[in-house]
Amino acid sequence: MTIAPDDAAPTNDDVVVEADGLARVFPGPPPVTALRPCSFTIRRGEYVAITGASGSGKTTLLSLLGLLDIPSAGRYLLDGVDVAGLSDRRRSAVRARRIGFVFQAFHLIGYRTVLDNVELGLLYQGIPKRQRRTRALAVVEQVGLGHRRHALCSRLSGGEKQRVAIARTLVREPSLVLCDEPTGNLDSGTTAQVLSLIDELHRAGLTIVVITHDPAIAAHAQRNLVISDGVLIEPGRVDATT
């Protein structure tokens, strides 16, 4: 199944993600097909939501897009580079420089400060410490946590934690931001703040993919893809080339 964005025939520079027959089967016994072959593109600066029930294959797709997992079949072009068959070392390099993550569980290092956690986003890019700190400070101020920059992450509220995670992504200036249920552990008030921050990231020109089971969150996105039993569809936008 092939899914294209609204405007036909985007140029290579406009496309961030180009998946062609991307599939994931976990070897058995018995083998489990988590994601059936799917093809889609995501254009630069797009805000895409992928919705689906629990166990439908959302996280598997996010892992493949984030190069945290290796597809069983298909081709995956990120910024025009085929990354599906890269070595582990090269995949790490792509993750370090092109992909940002926002997780449901925040994944902060609790015994380190807010600034340390944000700096961590730049650690594997080989940027010197002083530059990392300067950039991290700016981004921490941007997400409204300047007054908490020296606080240990273990002592932050859920909303603050997610803002740190977003700052850690923002500081990397990634081509693609992957958000896995970013408000899953937050109350409704904090959810609104975090969604507003993600909207800001989008307005700043970043390409956002949000995985969620909540239609209200998906409503923030420009495009909605639905995944069900490992099959990816975009309601009302099925390409004739399928």
């Binding site: 996280t59 892992s63 984030g66 945290l68 997992d69 910024d79 580079v81 582990d88 070392r89 090269r90 790490s92 390099a93 993750r95 370090a96 420089r97 092109r98 992909i99 993550f101 997780f103 569980a105 994944h107 290092i109 015994y111 380190r112 340390d116 961590l120 986003g121 650690l123 594997y124 890019q125 080989g126 010197p128 410490k129 850690r168 990397r172 200036e173």
Partner: protein, 405 residues
């Protein structure tokens, strides 16, 4: 960001690896301490056992050198009721190189006729316990290393002239009611008076002197029939000379028939010391090795548990671009730092333990400085080796899997 920058490999600077590892170790002190506990105990046990082995070895040496290894006794190999020793035992033996003092001594058999007593205080027959009478040449008395509470020892003048002088041991003096010699007290042995010229307060050898009246051999042989008495020679040698003197003394005393005399020498101190050292050190090294092995297993186990707990962090680092090598490097370095810390703490604890035991036993603590310097190195090696397996295991886990936990 320029295209070439975005395509370059992910990179973790050495300085950043160190600071990340140091932060993980320093910012969770309790966890670090628990992880290091096995190695602290291992290195501590290693330093303690090795230090105590050194201390005990020095102690064993000093004890051997002090007394046991400097005493030789000569006795008749086949007693036949005759005197096997010449009259000038002291002169013959003290002429040997390595002999401080030497002399003949024997206990005079008392058939009830001697009845040692101080007539000034007690009448005949009132002494509560029998007091032995020992005949000893001046050399034999001095070879016993006596300490006098008052008076003096008799000498070769008294010996050769058969003077009626006596030394009395502390216990015998108390029993006889003699506490001083400046009033020229006498004791009676049978019907003969002996002038007491000294009171022996303590001896290093022949403790029976403390319970006895000691008179010159010539005097004893004149006053009491003592031909059939079993005689013995005691020699006080310089340290290390006992073996040689044990060989030379029978020849010096009885050159025509040295086999008639039997020398009782202490075990060769060097051989014995080496044997004891070897035994003690083998045992202690085995215990130390075992302690270190337990420490290594403990740090491996603690690091493995730590890695399981930190799987989300490892997954995050991988998601942020860390290669397997970066993860291995960081975790191994963390383990090495933990090991170094454990080595230093363990060495300190071991040193305190050695000093405490030594002070309690009144030993001189002896420890090789190199051992203390080696302890952190042992900690590093243990930590690195023990951390390597968990580090490799952590780095090989797919990031998607670690992030799900």
């Amino acid at each position: 960001m320029p295209r070439h920058d975005r395509d370059s490999p992910s990179r973790l600077r050495i300085r950043d690896t160190i600071s990340e590892a140091a932060a993980a170790v320093a910012q969770r002190p309790i966890r670090t301490l628990l992880t290091a506990l096995g190695t602290i105990l291992g290195v501590g046990a290693f330093v303690t056992t090795t230090g105590l082995a050194e201390t005990a070895r020095a102690q064993v040496s000093s004890r051997f050198d002090a007394l046991k290894a400097t005493e030789v006794r000569i006795q008749d190999a086949a007693p036949d009721g005759t005197n096997s020793f010449p009259d000038d035992v002291d002169l013959r033996l003290e002429a040997l190189n390595g002999v401080y003092h030497a002399g003949l001594y024997f206990t005079i058999p008392d058939t009830g006729a001697i009845q040692p007593r101080n007539t000034a205080t007690r009448p005949v027959g009132t002494v509560s316990r029998p007091i032995a009478v020992i005949a000893a040449t001046p050399g034999a008395v001095e070879a016993s290393l006596p300490v006098l509470s008052t008076g003096r020892l008799y000498d070769q003048f008294h010996e050769t002239r058969g003077e009626h002088v006596a030394l009395i041991g502390r216990a015998a003096a108390s029993q006889l009611g003699i506490a001083r010699v400046d009033n020229q007290p006498s004791v009676f042995l049978a019907d003969t008076a002996y002038s007491v010229i000294g009171i022996i307060d303590d001896v290093a050898r022949n403790p029976d002197l403390l319970l006895a009246i000691v008179i010159p051999v010539t005097t004893a042989e004149t006053d009491f029939p003592a031909d059939s008495v079993e005689r013995q020679v005691i020699i006080d040698t310089t340290p290390g000379a006992a073996q040689l003197i044990g060989h030379q003394a029978p020849i010096a005393l009885r050159p025509q028939q040295p086999e008639r005399l039997q020398a009782l020498v202490p075990p060769d101190p060097q051989t014995l010391r080496n044997q004891v050292e070897s035994d003690v050190q083998s045992l202690f090294y085995a215990l130390s090795g075992l302690a270190l092995l337990i420490g290594a297993v403990a740090i491996t186990n603690a690091t493995l548990l730590n890695i399981i707990e930190r799987r989300p962090e490892i997954g995050l680092r991988r998601a942020l671009g860390a290669t397997r090598g970066h993860i291995t490097r960081q975790i191994t370095l963390e383990a090495a730092l933990t090991g170094t810390l454990a080595g230093i703490l363990g060495a300190t604890i071991g040193l305190i333990a050695v000093i405490t035991v030594s002070v309690a036993r009144q030993w001189t603590p002896t420890i090789e400085p190199a051992l203390l310097l080696a302890a952190p190195a042992i900690g590093i090696a243990t930590g690195t080796l023990a951390g390597l397996i968990p580090a490799l295991k952590a780095s090989r886990t797919p990031p998607a899997e670690t992030l799900r936990t």
